[in-house]
C-alpha cells in the first residue's frame, strides 16, 4: 500500500513537472516572438479622442499567442515605429524619435512589456471576441494574425512623460 502511494506521488509530481515545462516552453516561444517585434501596423480609422484605431499584424507559430501579443505589439509600434496612413486616414509618427530608447531604457521597458505589464493599461481589442476571416493567414509554417486594437495614445504619452521616457510636448517652449 505504501509502495503504491509512493509510486503514485512520484507519477503525479512527474506529470506536474512535465506540465510546468511545457507551459514554460510555450511562454518562452511567445516571448521570443515578441522580443523579435515582428509585426506590421495598418491604420484602420481615426480613433475617438486621444486614441488610435489600428490593425496589428502579428507573426507567430501559434494563432492564440499572436492574438495576445498583438496588444503588446500595438503599444510598441505606437511608441517606437508609428504607422503609415491610407485612404483618408492619417498616419502617425512614433512617440519617440530616439531609435535607441528601448535599449537605453531597458530597465523601464522590459517590465513595461512583460506579460501582464503596464502596456495593457493603454490598449484594448476592438472586436467581438474573434479574429476576422481575412485576418488569420497562414504564411509558410507560421500564422499572420491581424487584430484591431484601440490604443489610448494620450494616456500612454502622459505615462511615458511622467516616467521620464519622453519629453513633454511643452518642454521645447
Amino acid at each position: 500500500m505504501k509502495a503504491t502511494l509512493k509510486i503514485g506521488s512520484i507519477l503525479v509530481l512527474l506529470m506536474l513537472g512535465f506540465i510546468a515545462i511545457v507551459s514554460a516552453q510555450s511562454d518562452r516561444k511567445a516571448n521570443r516572438d515578441t522580443r523579435e517585434w515582428r509585426y506590421e501596423i495598418e491604420a484602420m480609422g481615426t480613433g475617438v479622442q486621444g486614441t488610435y484605431l489600428i490593425k496589428v499584424w502579428t507573426y507567430s507559430k501559434r494563432p492564440d499567442v499572436a492574438i495576445e501579443q498583438a496588444k503588446k505589439n500595438a503599444v510598441h509600434g505606437i511608441i517606437f515605429r508609428g504607422f503609415a496612413g491610407k485612404q483618408g486616414i492619417p498616419g502617425q509618427r512614433a512617440l519617440t524619435n530616439n531609435v535607441n530608447l528601448e535599449q537605453e531604457k531597458a530597465e523601464f521597458f522590459n517590465p513595461f512589456f512583460a506579460d501582464g505589464g503596464k502596456y495593457m493599461k493603454f490598449v484594448s481589442i476592438t472586436n467581438d471576441g474573434s479574429v476576422g476571416a481575412g485576418d488569420r493567414l497562414r504564411v509558410g509554417k507560421e500564422y499572420k494574425i491581424g487584430v484591431i486594437v484601440s490604443v489610448n495614445v494620450a494616456a500612454l504619452r502622459a505615462d511615458l512623460e511622467d516616467a521620464g521616457m519622453l519629453k513633454g510636448l511643452s518642454s521645447g517652449f
Binding site: G45, G47, D128, G132, A133, R136, L137
Partner: protein
C-alpha cells in the same frame, strides 16, 4: 524559328497568367446582396397572372428588396444573340431607378444617404459596430455604399406555360411512337411552366461610382438642375452573370374525393396558376444561390466549442445548411488561397434579424468532417441539394431478402421538420436466387405445387424510412444514423418446382407475373448506421439492423403455410409467421 517564337509566346503567356495572380487576395467579406426582379412581356393572360403575382412577392430575407417600377422587356421575334444584346441595354436602363432607389432620390431629383445608411446599418456585423464605436468616421455608412456593388437584377422569361391536359397530350404524342403504347393517366389538373432567368449585376466600382458622384450627384443643399436633367438618360453598366432554366408544376388531383383533400382545400385553376409565382421564385433563388458566389454567406469562425459563427435569420440560414471552413494561406508574393479544413452544418439558428449592436448571438454549427478548426477561419456557405444516394452490399445477413444489393435514396427534411440531421428516404434490397428449395409451401386454395425444389426468382424489400444523423465528436468525422421504416418485402418467382411459371393476362390484356408466385409481406426495418465522412460528399457507412417481417401472402391475398425445410438464409422458413431478420450492410453514400 517559328517554333521558337511559339514556345516563347506560350512561356510569356504562362508567366503573365501567373503574374495575374500575384497579390490576389481571398474575398472574405460578405456584403448582403440586393435583388431587383424584372420580366419579359407576358404573351398570354395566364402568363400575366403569374407575373402579377410574382411582383407582389417579397424577396427572401437573405436579399435586400430592390423593387422598382420598370416596363417589361419585349424580346419577341428576336434571335438569341439579339435578345442578349437588347436585354443588356434594358438592364442598363434599369440601373437608373435602382441607383435612384439606393440614393433615395426625391421628387426634386436630389439624392441623400438615408437609405444607404439604413441598409449599411442592417448589413453591418458586430465587428463593424464595435469598430464604429472606437472610430470617429462612420464605417457603417461606408458599408452601405459598398452594398450598391452587390445589386443584382433577375430577368424572368416564361418560355412555356401549359395546362396539365396539354402536358398529357404531349406525353401521349411522344409515347405513341412506342410499342405497347398506353395513354397516360390524366389524374392531375393544373399547370406546367418552363422559365429562364437571366442574372445581371450592377457594376458600381470606384471609377463608375466617381462618375455617378461627379456627373449626377445633387442634393438638397447643392441642388443642380443640370444634373437633374442629365439623370433622366443616365445608364450604368450591368454585368451578365449567369442564366438558369427550369420547369415547375402546380398541380392537384382532379378527383374531388382524393385523400389529399382531407387535409387541404381544392384550389381553383387561377389559384394554381398564382402558386407558380412562389414556385419559380423559390426554385430560381435557391439554384442561383448555389451558382453566384456573392450569394454565399461568408463569416469568420467565432468560437470552436461549440462551433459558432455570427450568421442567422438575417442571412436566411436553415437547418443543416452546409458550410466549408477554410484556412487562408498566403505566399511570399502576398497571393492568398483558400485551403478547406472542414465541413460544418447549421445546428441552431440565431435570430439576428435586427441591427447589430456588438453582442449578436451566434448560430451553432456541427462540424461534419475535416481537421481541427480554429477561431478566425473563413466559413463559406456551400449549399447542397439535401439528397443522398447510397449503394451497398451485405457483410452478413440472416435473410438475403434484407441483405442483398442495397440502394438507398434520401432527402433531408430537417429545414421543414426543424430537427437537424433528419432525412426521409427509400431503402431497397434486391437479390436473386437460383435452383433453391423453397420448402413445402401451400395456400388454402391449394394452387401452389406441393414440392418446390429448383426454384428461381428475385427477392426484394423496399421501405420508406426516417433517419437522423447524430454527431458525437467535435470534428464530426464519424456519425451514427439510426433509422426506422416500414415497407414491403417479397419474392417473385420465374421458375417454381423446376417449371417456368406462365404469365397471367391482366384486364388490359397485358402479360403480368403470376399472382400466385408473387409473395409479399409487410416489414419494419430498424437500422443504426455508423458512418465515416470521407469527404464533404462521400461517406462510408456500416449499417447493422433488424427487420421485423410479418406473415407473407400471395398476390391473390392467400396466406402461405410452410411445412418443409427450405434452403437457409432466404427467409422461406418463416413465411407464415413473424420473423426477426438481422443484417450488416456496408454502404458508400454520396451527398448531392
Amino acid at each position: 524559328m517559328e517554333k521558337k517564337i511559339i514556345i516563347f509566346l506560350c512561356l510569356s503567356f504562362a508567366f503573365l497568367a501567373n503574374g495575374q495572380n500575384i497579390g490576389k487576395t481571398v474575398d472574405t467579406k460578405y456584403l448582403r446582396p440586393s435583388l431587383t426582379t424584372l420580366f419579359f412581356q407576358p404573351k398570354t393572360n395566364q402568363e400575366n397572372t403569374v407575373i402579377t403575382k410574382f411582383k407582389e412577392l417579397p424577396v427572401i430575407n437573405k436579399y435586400d428588396d430592390n423593387k422598382i417600377e420598370f416596363p417589361y422587356f419585349n424580346g419577341s421575334g428576336l434571335s438569341a444573340a439579339d435578345k442578349m444584346v437588347r436585354m443588356k441595354y434594358y438592364v442598363q436602363k434599369a440601373a437608373n431607378p435602382i441607383l435612384a432607389k439606393w440614393w433615395n432620390r426625391d421628387a426634386n431629383g436630389d439624392f441623400n444617404t438615408e437609405f444607404v445608411a439604413k441598409r449599411g446599418g442592417f448589413s453591418a456585423i458586430d465587428a463593424d459596430v464595435i469598430q464604429a464605436k472606437a472610430s470617429t468616421t462612420n464605417r457603417i455608412e461606408m458599408i452601405g455604399a459598398d452594398l450598391i456593388d452587390k445589386s443584382y437584377v433577375f430577368v424572368y422569361e416564361i418560355t412555356q406555360l401549359l395546362t396539365m391536359e396539354q402536358v398529357y397530350d404531349r406525353t401521349d404524342a411522344i409515347n405513341r411512337k412506342y410499342k405497347n403504347y398506353q395513354p397516360v393517366k390524366r389524374d392531375e389538373e393544373g399547370y406546367e411552366l418552363t422559365y429562364t432567368v437571366y442574372t445581371y449585376k450592377l457594376n458600381f466600382n470606384d471609377s463608375i461610382s466617381s462618375v455617378f458622384y461627379n456627373d449626377y450627384w445633387t442634393d438638397a443643399k447643392n441642388h443642380d438642375i443640370q444634373k437633374v436633367t442629365k439623370w433622366k438618360d443616365a445608364t450604368f453598366p450591368m454585368m451578365y452573370k449567369t442564366q438558369y432554366s427550369a420547369t415547375v408544376r402546380s398541380t392537384q388531383p382532379k378527383d374531388p374525393k382524393s385523400s389529399v383533400y382531407l387535409y387541404k382545400k381544392k384550389k381553383t385553376m387561377n389559384e394554381l396558376l398564382e402558386d407558380m409565382a412562389l414556385l419559380i421564385q423559390t426554385n430560381s433563388e435557391s439554384e442561383l444561390g448555389m451558382k453566384i458566389e456573392d450569394f454565399s454567406a461568408k463569416v469568420a469562425v467565432f468560437k470552436t466549442n461549440p462551433l459558432s459563427a455570427k450568421l442567422g435569420t438575417k442571412e436566411s440560414l436553415y437547418l443543416d445548411q452546409r458550410f466549408f471552413v477554410y484556412e487562408i494561406e498566403q505566399d511570399n508574393n502576398g497571393t492568398q488561397k483558400k485551403i478547406r479544413k472542414g465541413v460544418a452544418r447549421v445546428k441552431e439558428i440565431a435570430d439576428n434579424n435586427t441591427v447589430a449592436t456588438g453582442t449578436t448571438k451566434p448560430s451553432v454549427f456541427q462540424q461534419q468532417g475535416g481537421k481541427t478548426l480554429f477561431e478566425g477561419m473563413l466559413m463559406e456557405s456551400k449549399e447542397d441539394r439535401g439528397v443522398s444516394v447510397s449503394i451497398g452490399f451485405p457483410l452478413s445477413t440472416s435473410n438475403k431478402q434484407f441483405g442483398g444489393l442495397n440502394m438507398n435514396l434520401d432527402y433531408r427534411i430537417s429545414p421543414m421538420a426543424k430537427i437537424s440531421g433528419l432525412a426521409l428516404g427509400i431503402d431497397g434490397y434486391v437479390s436473386f436466387f437460383n435452383n433453391i428449395n423453397v420448402g413445402n409451401v401451400t395456400v388454402p386454395s391449394g394452387v401452389l405445387p406441393y414440392s418446390s425444389a429448383g426454384s428461381d426468382g428475385t427477392s426484394y424489400a423496399i421501405a420508406v424510412f426516417l433517419a437522423k444523423e447524430i454527431y458525437f465528436t467535435r470534428k464530426g468525422n464519424i456519425y451514427l444514423r439510426p433509422s426506422i421504416g416500414g415497407g414491403l418485402s417479397g419474392y417473385n418467382f420465374s421458375k417454381y418446382n423446376g417449371t417456368d411459371i406462365p404469365k397471367e393476362t391482366d384486364s388490359n390484356g397485358n402479360e403480368v407475373p403470376s399472382k400466385d408466385y408473387s409473395w409479399s409481406s409487410i416489414y419494419f426495418p430498424l437500422n443504426i448506421g455508423l458512418g465515416i465522412n470521407i469527404s464533404p460528399s462521400i461517406c462510408l457507412e456500416i449499417k447493422p439492423g433488424v427487420a421485423f417481417r410479418f406473415a407473407s401472402t400471395t398476390g391473390n391475398n392467400e396466406a402461405l403455410t410452410q411445412s418443409g425445410v427450405p434452403d437457409a438464409k432466404l427467409g422461406f422458413e418463416s413465411l407464415d409467421k413473424l420473423s426477426m431478420n438481422s443484417s450488416i450492410v456496408c454502404n458508400l453514400r454520396y451527398r448531392f
